[in-house]
């Protein structure tokens, strides 16, 4: 993607004053909302001085707030920018799989997440690693889940910044000569984000998500009606895409992309969709969104209404084809083609300046919301599963909240340095690895929701095997043009030539290792570990008594084990 393009003339990017003013005004509005959010539905007694309040917004979000929060959380700037970019560059297999991916996602969420909600609600779990620790009585397994979550989330946050940067570049901010000046707007935006996340916790992104989504829906609805009319209908647009993607690229000797997948790409297409869907709700930020809801059914109800976002995602993906017809030229500051700029550039070229400002602000704010939730989720993992489990077991809720606040700052600035100091394609490669890694926590988390059959050490060994295979296989994918490692997420199943998403093979290896070793360890009668959950926890709802209260009713029983 980078480095191969013959430097074209560095574009003369004038600052678009009207669009920039609108972006700045909307950003100020959002920042003000972020700080005001601290007062919204604030806990009466504790303020924001516990993880339940700061890190989960008081666990009280109803259907509507959750709809906006999860929508803002799952459909990130990366989706809005990178999916159309992939459609523009290589077509359906690398881009449009996002549609079946976000379709099969919701039946899976429906099946799994209400049980996780119930058990977490009863035991006060804040992170997926809390649940794994409580279920298997294994701090090692819980640490593995926590570290995987933190490591996989960092490049995801970095990619949100790449999205904001794309908007700023298109607006004409920054130059190739002055590095500090180029990144200054990004740094300012990020410092403000860090400040309101610190003060308001999860309430800030929940409130901002409402504004963000209204802007995005407006921009997308206008774009999919106005642009095809302007360009003479979808016939022209799909015709141009078919021609471009079918043209043979002299560097590889193969067509530039895929317009409609042939038999050879079937397995890649559906494994990308399924693997991504299984992985998405293992990311700590998705689980944070789930646990912040008020009742068990909130999340199920949302599984039925969230697909509205997928419809928008589908149309946004098609904007990549619209840009092909429109002849959009996504030239970065260094003169190279950067597909990530396609959608912002398309908006700026073909909308009136004021509306382009709204649409670009929607993309930039769309990056801030998930970045905030991700940093909160990673911070909660650090606080609960590293700080409390390994450093200070007797930490009070107040201490936990302050550790988490500081950790969220560290995570965000880590991502900022990542984007400024490193090549952006490094962030994309890390993100690809992140998806492969996070799927390896699936057996420990999901199997535990239904059965206690798996042995904790077998799950740990499966996790390690999956991570090892996934990392090596991803490293061995070489980009045919740049000859760089980590060139893609598709590889052949070992011993065959069936091309599939690497994460899915790693996941299969993980499951096989976990199942075989469980049988072995059970035969050896290795200790199982203490399970603090019980059957009734998995169906509990908001009005059912919490476990702590049940224990108070039976004072003669010995106190439960501490986690």
């Amino acid at each position: 993607m980078n480095g191969v393009t013959v430097p074209l003339a560095v574009p003369d990017r004038p600052v678009n004053g009207v669009a920039l003013t609108i972006v700045i005004l909307l950003f100020i509005l959002v920042a003000a909302l972020g700080f005001l959010a601290a007062r919204w539905r604030r806990g009466e007694e504790t303020g924001l001085h516990s993880l339940d309040e700061w890190g989960l917004g008081g666990r009280g979000f109803g259907t509507w707030v959750t709809w906006f929060l999860l929508g803002g959380d799952l459909y990130t700037a990366y989706t809005f920018v990178a999916v159309p970019a992939a459609m523009w560059a290589t077509g359906a297999v690398s881009g449009f799989f996002a549609v079946p991916y976000t379709i099969v996602l919701y039946p899976i969420v429906f099946l799994l997440m209400s049980r996780l909600w119930s058990v977490s609600h009863r035991h006060g779990f804040v992170t997926p690693a809390d649940f794994v620790g409580g279920r298997y009585g294994s701090r090692t397994l819980s640490l593995a889940v926590a570290v995987t979550g933190i490591v996989a989330t960092m490049p995801y946050i970095a990619l949100q910044l790449v999205g904001i940067k794309a908007v700023l570049t298109v607006l004409g901010l920054g130059s190739a000569e002055n590095v500090l000046l180029t990144d200054l707007p990004l740094i300012i935006a990020f410092v403000v984000l860090a400040a309101y996340t610190y003060t308001s916790g999860l309430r800030a992104p929940a409130l901002i998500a409402v504004v963000k989504d209204l802007l995005i829906y407006l921009a997308v609805i206008v774009a999919v009606i106005y642009l095809p009319i302007k360009f003479g209908g979808w016939d022209n647009i799909f015709g141009a895409a078919q021609t471009k993607l079918g043209t043979v690229n002299p560097a590889t000797g193969r067509p530039a992309g895929v317009f409609i997948p042939g038999a050879a790409s079937y397995s890649a297409y559906w494994t990308l969709a399924l693997g991504s869907a299984l992985a998405l709700f293992m990311y700590p930020h998705s689980i944070t969104g789930v646990l912040a809801t008020k009742s068990r059914n909130t999340i199920r109800k949302n599984a039925a209404v969230l697909p509205l976002y997928s419809l928008m995602l589908g149309f946004l993906a098609l904007l990549g084809y619209v840009a092909i017809y429109a002849g959009t030229k996504p030239i970065d500051l260094n003169g190279a083609v950067n597909p990530q700029l396609v959608v912002p550039q398309l908006f700026l070229d073909h909308f009136p300046a004021w509306f382009a400002g709204i649409a670009l602000a929607a993309i930039a704010i769309g990056a801030l919301v998930p970045a905030a939730i991700m940093s909160i989720a990673a911070a909660n993992l650090f606080t609960r599963n590293i700080y409390r489990d390994f450093i200070k077991p007797e930490a009070t809720p107040k201490e936990e909240a302050s550790v988490s606040k500081i950790a969220s700052l560290v995570v965000k600035f880590g991502a900022l340095i990542f984007v400024i100091a490193m090549d952006q394609s490094a962030a994309i490669n890390m993100q690809l690895l992140g998806g492969i890694w996070i799927l390896q926590t699936f057996p420990a988390i999901v199997a535990g929701l239904y059965t206690r059959w798996f042995h904790r050490w077998a799950l740990f060994a499966g996790w390690a095997a999956g991570i090892l295979y996934g990392t090596i296989a991803a490293y061995n994918v070489v980009n045919p043009v740049t000859k760089a490692n980590f060139g893609g997420s598709i590889a052949a199943i070992p011993g065959t030539d069936v091309q599939v998403y690497i994460a899915v093979v790693a996941f299969a290896i993980n499951l096989i290792v976990a199942a075989v070793l469980t049988a072995v360890f059970r035969a050896m009668k290795l200790p199982e570990g203490m399970d603090i959950t019980r059957r009734s926890d998995y169906g509990a709802d908001e009005n059912d008594p919490k476990v702590a209260e049940i224990q108070r009713e039976y004072p003669l029983a010995e106190p439960g084990p501490t986690v």
């Binding site: 549609v99 099969v104 979808w234 969709a273 697909p307 009734s536 084990p561």
Partner: protein, 92 residues
């Protein structure tokens, strides 16, 4: 276990769960069956079948999940009420 496992729900009737499971399985398997829709024709308003068919499955899935929600939450409510009735009726 340090205290008795107080059930939050009564025993389940399998019917609603089986129907919901089938609906959800359809919503997962059909969109992933690529050979079933990887064609150009028939086009709809200039959009190849491959693209509009997948977009069409978004509202279909929403309906399937919605029906499952209705079935499962109704049964869930019945199971909870069964437990509460027993608790009030008994000496606890």
């Amino acid at each position: 276990m340090s205290s008795p496992d107080v059930p939050t729900r009564g025993p389940a009737r399998p019917g609603p769960y089986i129907i919901a499971g089938v609906l959800l399985a359809v919503a997962i398997v059909v969109p992933l069956f690529v050979p079933g829709y990887s064609f150009d024709n028939p086009r709809l308003g200039g959009m190849p079948f491959f693209y509009w068919y997948q977009m069409m499955w978004i509202p279909v899935t929403a309906c399937l999940v919605g029906i499952s929600y209705w079935l499962v939450s109704k049964e869930d409510r019945r199971r909870r009420e069964a437990v509460q009735a027993r608790r009030i009726g008994g000496q606890e």
